[in-house]
């Protein structure tokens, strides 16, 4: 289990995260949702030891994460950042290979793993291409391939994949491809934590939802329990309507434009 | 016995002849001029960039300027002897030359008369021209004595500011320990005795020093656009030198190298300032 216990973080006197507790279980997909500036990406950074916490602790599979060095941590978890830009012309294979650096597998095995993740992320036709020449969505797929290569190995302990808005530049075909691939990986004793903007996408893929607002976790729980009109409206300060998808039977959320309020008497407060 | 003497004389003469250097390389204009004054001008096969006099030196192969002079370049010219002023060649190069078995004479030039005489003697000895060396020194001393008489008769010692100019943006005032101090032999005094080395010219300090004359190297005066150019330099117009247009220039090499022409240079300064 990857666990953040009561963590807080601040820049100067400005509090960014307040007393957040989150548990990431293997074989579970957890999505963090919330309005802009809620602290979603910061929470991800805090969990991955990128920022110095004011208080609280992070444990990975029972060990305090501060006791593990970057190499040990990188064998347990892989992180996909929002955007990655490179100033040198690297080929996509060279980028994906970086995911293999923490491991002691043979070069032959590495090349095979790289081939496999390229296949999984449907990047076969991009082999040999320079990363800088790719579109934003293509770059995200290469980055996914890289972190897949990083968590590829079978291991006795659970592993984790942390994704920061992985679908932001993707079309619907590749959104589903990416999140579907992430779910497939879960069968290997792996937990996924993703910051997602699209609420419906989050509800479709996540087993567990975390609602964040103003640096705090306002609600978390099983998706089918917390994916409600009330939770969404209080988190986002915007009226929504919950519907049922007639083909899948899933609950979906529809936001309502400001000029079409169905309940004009209800006052909308902005935080 | 007599025969033996004759043989010995012939032997010594032939030794002297074989020892006579046929291929000389010099570094430092003062030494180059000394070699020429000793009558061996045509034996110089290459020299450094500061040796501009006599003029035919300028058409010789150049071994470069000061520390850019390298050993291999010199060795490739196969000189019999090289005469280098101290600090004209760096120590690494000097060692390389000596290791290669080259005959090297290093002479000092600290811009004073004693050094000049010593230098003449050393070079003359190395080139088997001792008598010519003594003659040269004699000639120089005669000239200096006659100059000293004139200086003694003169009733004033004007203040001279020596300016080392390389274009209007780069004006340096020459202080005590520079080659310019030949002016002290010419019945004049340094307008800025407190400065040592070369220091940038400051307009207010210039007015304060109030020199009677401004002394330039000829090339320096030219780089400023002549006397009119100098008068435009801030501060110059407020000095006696500026007001009376007492701005003089002398060939830069002769003026500052303390070579065989030093008496000539000093006399020229004396005549231009008295």
């Amino acid at each position: 289990m990857l666990q953040a216990n009561n963590i807080s973080y601040q820049i100067g006197s400005k509090s960014i995260l307040r007393n957040c507790t989150i548990k990431l279980k293997p074989r579970t997909f957890t999505a963090i949702v919330g309005p802009n500036g809620a602290g979603k990406s910061t929470l991800l950074k805090a969990i991955t030891n990128e920022v110095k916490l004011r208080n609280g602790s992070i444990t990975v599979n029972g060990h305090s994460s501060s006791a593990l060095d970057s190499k040990a941590l990188s064998r347990i978890r892989a992180v996909m950042p929002q955007h990655t830009s490179i100033n040198f012309p690297f080929s996509i294979e060279q980028i994906i290979e970086i995911g293999r650096f923490p491991h002691h597998t043979s070069p032959v095995e590495n090349v095979e793993i790289i081939e496999k993740v390229i296949e999984k992320t449907r990047l076969q036709s991009y082999k040999g291409r320079t990363y800088q020449t790719l579109s934003g969505g293509e770059k995200q797929r290469v980055q996914l391939a890289r972190i897949m290569a990083q968590v590829w190995d079978k291991s006795p302990h659970p592993k984790y994949l942390l994704l920061d808005e992985p679908t932001s530049d993707l079309d619907i075909l590749h959104q589903h491809a990416l999140l579907g691939t992430a779910r497939e990986l879960m069968s290997d004793n792996l937990g996924v934590l993703a910051v997602l903007h699209d609420l419906n996408l989050a509800a479709q893929y996540a087993d567990y939802l975390v609602f964040m607002k103003n640096g705090e976790i306002v609600k978390q729980g099983e998706t089918r329990e917390v994916f409600t009109k009330e939770n969404i409206e209080t988190t986002f300060n915007h009226p929504v309507q919950m519907l049922e998808d007639p083909t899948t039977g899933q609950t979906i959320v529809v936001s309502i434009p400001n000029h079409m309020h169905l309940e004009p008497q209800k006052e909308i407060r902005y935080a | 016995m007599n025969r033996l003497k004759i043989y010995l004389t012939i032997l010594m003469l032939s030794l002297a002849c074989t020892a006579q250097a046929q291929r000389i390389i010099t570094a430092g204009s003062s030494s180059t001029e000394i070699v020429c004054e000793l009558g061996l001008c045509d034996k110089i096969i290459a020299t450094d960039r500061t040796s501009l006099y006599p003029p035919q030196m300028q058409s010789l192969p150049s071994i470069g300027y000061r520390t850019s002079i390298t050993a291999e370049g010199i060795i490739s010219l196969e000189p019999d002897v090289m005469i280098l002023e101290k600090d004209y060649v760096n120590d690494v190069v000097l060692n390389q030359l000596k290791n290669a078995g080259q005959k090297v004479l290093v002479v000092e030039n600290n811009s004073n008369l004693e050094d000049t005489k010593l230098r003449i003697r050393q070079i003359a000895a190395a080139l088997n021209k001792k008598p010519e060396g003594e003659t040269l020194i004699q000639k120089m001393e005669t000239e200096l004595t006659s100059l000293a008489k004139k200086v003694a008769q003169a009733n004033n010692t004007p203040k001279v500011l020596c300016v080392y100019a390389r274009g209007a943006g780069n004006l340096q005032v020459a202080g005590n320990d520079t080659g310019f101090m030949i002016i002290e032999m010419a019945g004049t005094q340094n307008a800025v005795p407190e400065i040592s080395g070369y220091k940038p010219l400051n307009a207010e300090a210039l007015i304060n020093a109030n020199p009677d004359y401004l002394l330039f190297m000829a090339s320096g005066l030219e780089s400023l656009g002549g006397i009119n150019g100098v008068l435009k330099i801030p501060g110059v117009a407020q000095t006696t030198a500026g007001k009376k247009m007492q701005i003089i220039a002398i060939d830069g090499v002769k003026l500052t190298n303390w070579g065989p022409r030093l008496a000539e240079a000093a006399l020229e300064i004396f005549e231009k300032t008295h």
Binding site: I86, F88, Q94, I98, Q132 | T67, S68, E72
Partner: protein, 359 residues
Amino acid sequence: MNSSITISKLKSQKLTAGFLTTAMALFLLALFLFSLTIGAVELSVSEISSILLDRLGFTNQNFTAVQSVVLMDIRLPRLIFTILIGTALGVSGAALQGIFRNPLVEPGIIGVSSGAALGAFVVILGLTSFIGEIPDSLKVWLLPPFAFLGGVLATFMTLRLGNYQGKVRVTILILAGVAISTLANAIIGLGIYYADDQQLRTFTFWTLGDLSAGTWQKIGIITIPIIASTLILTRMAKSLNAIALGESEAFHSGVNVEKVKRTIVFLSALCVGVAVSFSGIIGFVGLVIPHIIRMAFSSDHRIVIPLSALGGAALLILADLFARTVVAPSELPIGVVTAALGTPFFIYLLTVAKRKNLI
């Protein structure tokens, strides 16, 4: 799946790095041997080989004593010195560009060179002014550590200034480099004002760069730091590939970013410091070589780092060949030659970088 293809592909990849390094080493060797035969003094290949054989104990006097000295005391030490300096500049340029994730970084730009110059200046001028004339035999030993210290200090100051919340901001970094260099140059300028003629000349010439002062003793002093740094930097190539993605990406790929950063800055400053302390400032080798390698072969640091080391040596040999033959028997300052060749290339890089939004 078709693992035979992947294995052959892998082999070809590994071959590429090994093959390229070997090929470059051979090219350097050829250039070295060719350069050995070129110079103001005539030395044929057979004469060179007899001199070398003679030194090895096979007496065959087929050359003059002067030729022997020219080869053994002048040309050979100068060439080996040139190779070491070129290696130091090339490898540190490649490593610094890697660690700063920026292709425009050069030892000169982030302050290493000015810092090292200040260190050397302290020895050439400062110490002689305060504690009196230092004999050259001691100066030779004082210059490298002082230049290294100056280089390290300046680089860490630049790095600190360029750092904001753990991230290097390139614009600030380059401005910081400018500031630190300017400060170092101002201190030097102040010293120059008080310097006497002799000190000034030594220093002015030093800033132009000079390979002719290469002696066996100096080679002895700089070989170990430069070769050791180069080997260690080569081993950090993988980490640099990860850092190319970004510092946090590298951290999550298992790289101890801070440690790598400190090590690389330290080793680069060591390389540049000891090199510069004897050769003077030789610009643009560190900037240009990694670029040529990247354009010609690959951005993979496992190729860029070793090839920049070898390529830096090759470029400097070529520049030196040019410097010492064009105006023979005199020679051009090497710094002038590399800057004259490097500046147009740098301007070209700037225009390309602008188009590709790299800065």
